[in-house]
Symmetry: C2
Subunit: 452 residues, 2 copies
């Protein structure tokens, strides 16, 4: 397969939009220089031995224009105390927030940049880390050493992944991390070659840059960490996001288009559009609105997924067949929406229960003793005893109202459900205002991926 | 397990009702004597050598009181012509109908008895018959020789089978033939012992009175024909009827009751009862009424079953889940009713199509080329490409009206469907008059077997 020449013109145009200008580079360098100087000055004053370094995309020139995130790591000796590094971080910036991942770090807005100041241990080998962040400087050194002159390819790949909705290893996305994108470029040497390789992926693809893998992984994509042979860099990548990327790669190669990099934001639905979508589909849409717990995204999303799964199972178990579902955490961080689309919202009162084979006397007796009140039966069908009994819940909303709080919903979300929630059914969805909701619904209805 | 004495009192009472009186016996014997004398007189006049014999339950004293069916067989030599026996039969009775099974026979009403005069070949061995009826005289001789003093036990078993709805090997019932009932009595020596044995049947039970089986049968009950080692007497018995009998046997042994022999005829539903059953169940009932083809029961029932099955599959294939169905051929022989009970009668317009795994490029392309017009998607779910498209039929009645005549419905029934049929949905069933319909619906709704 040879690519039309125009693809490179197209990539050049994309690059114009996403590559930081020299002014942006200079500003970044000067801000980084200032912060590092402050930290090191404070350390000298306190007589603390530490190593301060910029990591992440800013360190290796692979950040996308306008992306103003800085990760500055403050390393102390393994036998030292991380707390002393944290004190340096606190003192280095005028206003800050303390945040927690595995342990505390400082988050600050500094001259328009979002800065994370992260204490870590200076370990000798990435496979002997004391905390997950200790691995990051090794990643940074590895990539820096290999990425020279490939920075633009990384930028293209990151933007393509953003545009096709697969960028980000956070639990909301379960996509590709920046480090993973960089390693793919290191492996295949160019954006186009990464796409060509991805186009023919199947589950279980393994990439081992350093040929040092020491264990098997069950994940759909395995990229052995070049600084830690036990670790799969793509462990957080979901099957669906992996192949969303793969399918988008195939399509882009067939018909390159800037749209893959810069998709048009979906238009919010008007009242009339929302109504006609609901009426055209003739399905039963149920929306649950509840107050979001005050937690960070990586805590909320797994709980949201768990709750979504539990509610879908509850509905399916009770014969309310779920066509599709989706969840959304409002940008204002205050509200959560969970949307369930059912084939039908009500079912007949009569429900068929199929029991054991009629010749298993003991089991038949037990079954029938549980079903003394029948609408029809007992009778025999294909050798099994069958009864028809009254269904517990005729409508999906009855079922949800009665059972939702008994489900496994995640710790914080469950508390919110217990405090109260609202159910909207069908046309009642029109009562919910706001562009964000109307965009959520527009995305839900079209749900069209760039895969063909 | 010992049975309470009272069961024998109960059986005695039942016997009082079902055993022919001596007058009935005498009348039967005199009618049989007269017919045989006529046939043999005619044969002598024509110089034809033949053997005339009474077969069936009348021959061995195992007919139920009031059952006025006589089977009189007229046998000719193997190298002779059956047609000559048929001429004797025609001449022997004043008014008759000619009927056809494997070949022609004469059916007549004679002095209040329904008489079949059946020509057959006098073969030497039941395993070398020329026509299925040639086997009957062998059955008759075998049973007659073994059934002495067990006649009452046969009567009880036949009446129990009638009362529990499993008597009759015709295709409408797929139950126990009279010969099968007699052989069970010969095997177990009494009504109660047959029930005890049947109570613990499981599929694949084999009974071989003469220990001469020469081949395996797949049927749920195998009773090797004592006069033909290749044949299974219970071949026509369905799994469900076999175990309806088995389960009823268990129940009768636990709590004997005349009800098993003489069940109360179900009361026809009033308008109000029919309406409230429909509304209580909240399901969607669809009734198809059509003109019955002018054929005998054993031709109509297999076609009815086939049509019922085809329509159920059509509905299920289109996601209209069938709860239960039933068919009925009106006693007036003019109408047929086919009843289908659905969970829901309409479905959303949107329908999910799950395609191949997204990494199978060729298959994905083919799938997507078939689904260019989507309501939602394509998207990826659990590694597979998915689209949501418009459903062809929103309501079950639309589907039936459009597709029913394309189904496999049986030759004669299909012609009737093509001529026209009526659909009644839900409350429209109230428009159908007549006690027979209201009894059919009453039986449908309760559908309670004597199995617990």
């Amino acid at each position: 397969m040879t690519l039309p020449l125009s693809i490179y013109d197209l990539l050049e145009e994309v690059l114009q939009k996403i590559k930081p200008t020299s002014q942006e580079r200079e500003r970044l360098n000067s801000v980084v220089g200032e912060i590092i100087a402050r930290v090191e000055g404070l350390a000298r004053n306190k007589g603390l031995e530490c190593e301060t370094l910029l990591v992440g995309s800013a360190a290796r020139g692979t950040w996308l224009a306008g992306d103003h995130d800085l990760d500055i790591f403050i390393g102390v000796a393994v036998d030292s105390d991380l707390h002393r590094a944290l004190e340096l971080a606190r003192a280095a910036v005028p206003i800050y927030q303390e945040r927690y991942a595995e342990h505390a770090y400082v988050h600050a807005i500094f001259e328009g940049f979002e800065v994370d100041l992260v204490p870590f241990y200076l370990v000798e080998d990435a496979s002997r880390i004391k905390s997950a962040v200790d691995r990051t400087p090794f990643h940074s050194r590895y990539v820096s050493a290999k990425i020279k002159d490939l920075e633009d390819e990384v930028l293209l790949l990151k933007q393509f992944m953003k545009g096709t909705g697969v960028y980000g290893s956070e639990l909301r996305v379960c996509g590709f991390s920046g480090y993973l994108a960089e390693l793919l470029i290191i492996r295949y040497c160019s954006f186009v070659e990464v796409l060509r390789a991805a186009a023919s992926w199947s589950p279980g693809v393994t990439i081992d840059l350093e040929k040092h893998a020491v264990q098997l992984h069950e994940d759909p994509l395995v990229l052995v960490d070049p600084v830690d042979p036990k670790r799969n860099v793509a462990a957080a990548l979901s099957l669906d996001k992996m192949f969303q990327f793969s399918a988008a790669s195939r399509c882009f190669i067939k018909s390159p288009d800037q749209n893959f990099f810069f998709p048009r934001e979906v238009d919010p639905l008007s009242d009339q559009e929302l109504l006609s979508r609901i009426e055209d589909r003739k399905s039963t849409l149920i929306l649950i609105e509840l107050v979001a717990p005050d937690m960070v995204e990586d805590v909320i999303y797994p709980q949201l997924r768990k709750a979504e799964q539990s509610i879908c199972s509850l509905l399916d178990r009770n014969d309310f067949s779920v066509l599709r579902s989706d969840v959304h955490w409002h940008q204002d961080k205050l509200r959560i929406w969970m949307l369930f689309e059912l084939e039908v919202g009500y079912l007949p009162s009569v429900k068929r229960h199929i029991g054991p084979p009629i010749w298993q006397e003991y089991h038949v007796d037990r079954f029938l003793s549980h079903h003394r009140q029948t609408l029809s039966g007992p009778y025999i069908d294909e050798g099994k005893v069958v009864v028809e009994v009254n269904r517990n819940y005729n409508t999906a909303t009855q079922l949800l109202r009665s059972q939702i709080c008994n489900l496994s919903l995640g710790k914080h979300l469950k508390l919110q459900f217990e405090k109260g929630y609202k159910l909207y059914v069908g046309r009642e969805l029109l009562e919910i205002d706001g562009l964000e909701f109307r965009r959520f619904m527009a995305r839900y209805f079209s749900r069209r991926l760039n895969i063909c």
